[in-house]
Amino acid sequence: MLAYLRRRVALSFLVLVGVTLITFMIVRLVPGDPVVAVLGRQAVSAENAAALREQLGLNDSLPEQYTSFVGNLLRGDLGRSIRTERPVWDMISEQLPSTIALTVSAMAIALVAGFAIGTLAALRRDSWVDRLLMFSIMAGVSMPSFWLGMLLIMLLSVGLNWVPAAAPASDPRSLILPALTLGIAETAVLARIIRASLLEVLSQPYLTVAHAKGLRGRYILFRHAMPNALIPIISIVGLQFGLLLSGSVVVESLFARPGLGRLTVTAVNNRDFPVIQGIVLVVAVIYLTVNTLTDIASALVNPRVRLS
């Protein structure tokens, strides 16, 4: 286990180096000058632009800029935003809790609903219930979250006035619609996988044996079938976490909710290099951590998986 963790951390470190290098290059290869983004197309004069470029250190060569970025990073300094001049870490850390609350709630909704739907569909295989559920799931997967969010706003906020459309972050109800929007799409993904995984397990000979022994259906399902069907789900949940993080970009903007996704949009629009790099790095760390944890979790529930 320890050897596995050590290797995993070393590998993660390599991935992170790659991530910094790629983001660093991408944000600089995209056409467009951060100086213009800061000043606005209107306020740009040759004089202003040159002064700001010097001030931001953009006149240095790319290797020089990268070395200083990595040097600062090793000292725990993500740099300062070009636009707000605030420390990047402050900007990210104040937005992170909101995004984590959103993704965790969306995942919780997806797990509960996905298990319910997936299990029901598997148990009623090929019946009209199964077909109806799978059809709804297809619709859920295909629906863009932007559109789904608008529908939910129209229905639950404007129509029924049950939940606020764009409540301030201090209002706990502000989490409901964004989490539902993100959670519904995710439910669709999980339900399909749970159905497939459960069906596979249900066809195993040891379940026929369990039936033959006269065990009750519910006991067989929860005691024998579910734990084995769960194994592939754990790794999927880890991977889907990354999808939820990227989904927050759209959902946070739509619901005017603070968070990393919205910060990313603003930073990209403003060519705010240090902020973009910081966000990518933090998201990469989260993603790597979640995946390491899910790998360990799979090994714990499935003795056939060896962490070596």
Binding site: P31, A49, P168
Partner: protein, 525 residues
Amino acid sequence: MLVNRLLSLALALLVLLALVPAASAQNDQLTIGLSTEPVSLDSAKGLYIAEQWLLMNLYDTLTRTDQTNALYQGLAESWTTNDERTEFTFVMRPDAVFHDGSPVNAEAVQAFFDRVAAAADPAATATSILAGYLGSTVNDDGSLTVSFDAPKPTFLSDVSRAWMGIPSPTAVEIQGDAFGQNPVGSGPFRFVEWVPQDHITLERNPDYAWGPEFATNPGAPLLAQVTFRFLPEAATRLTALQAGEVQAVEDPPGLATRPLLDAGAFTLATFPAPGMPSHMMINTAKAPTDDVRVRQAMIYAVNQEELVQVAFAGLASATHSVLSPSTFGFSQAAADLYRFDPERAAALLDEAGWVDSDGDGIRDRDGVNLSIAYPAIPAYEEAFMELLAAYLTQAGFEVNLTTMDDAGIFAFASEGNHNIVNMGWTSRDPSVLSYVYNSANIDGGSAFTRFVDANLDAALNDAVVAVDDAERAALYETAQMIIMENALAIPLYNYDRVMALDPRVQGWTYDAEGYPLLYEVSLAD
């Protein structure tokens, strides 16, 4: 069964939610939905629209201007200037205090001016207003004399702009770099909190007694609290207004808003913003728009009156020049040069040799299509870009519409790759024309027409330092005439300030730049 239990749980949750009362606003608290978020609330660093909303409520200025740009007392109760307009002396009013209790005096103004000049921040409006600042001195009688190295004919009106709001020097010293997040001024509202990407809250300054003379409410604001929410999606702003979560929203989506306005769900408060309206700058250095007849044909091909109806559901107004009618020095003669006339457009293109020889709907000459490059920013141009392209296509142009973001467009247009590019600039003074039509700004700047004309440059340069108002106006009228006669721009629509309001909102009036005076606003029961 498990599924049944889950279903009942979900139902119970929904019922609970329904029991929670929906947000109901108190009648002394106003929430405004803005489309963008400020970057800094330090007036010395301000540049963006969202900042102007906040700065004008947090700070006071030396002078004040009403909607007609007439000067009134502000923090200064009187002022004098020398004949050259290079030296200005302000006598401060004695009673104003900052939110932190320190007095608003000549030293505070001097500290602000010195700080702006020393920082020379290129991304700050205050820097350009104070360009040429030599220094200021506090006189024995407590007045302040400010000196410049060249005439500043518009300085007295410029210091009334929100960007020149005087901050508390004590607070600037204490807060240092964090002052932009913790502003202290002397304005009608005090800063309470800023939750990034969510909201900024201000509260009434109960001691406020130095409001402008033209205000109907000279004392403390009628509202106890004002919250600015940041709602980047226009559709979300509208639904937040519909749901009663905000009482005023900026730039509501035209098509969705129109039926609600007609149904009386909200009211509309518009103000024709001064400055350069939204228009397309035409590149005179790239074929085929290097031919004046082609450029004129483009202007005749566009129906601005129809465009504002289709693209903005009539929430914006059509324009026919490069200055909006509410701007000082606006030339009606220049604005009367062109009106939608597709036949005239066709005749001009025929005359220039562009005819549709192969019947594909696109005009051509010597085997080359009449093709133009139109890089657009959806953030600003989404509402009308396809329609504009359609007008030009109808006239026989092949329009290559590509979308980019602001920085991408600047790079593209700076290299002269465009034929048309969008421009517009809200400003109470026509001097902004110089930034985009003075040939000195072709290299590295925003003079995207790449048009070089000694008379145009001279008019724009002389106007900036002309002391006499009639002379300044005449110079700007000349400049507009040269711009329109040479067909350098396709005017589109005015940047009207458009706000959709809850009908309970009362006393919503605008200042000279189209920002509401919130100390006049109240909410009916």
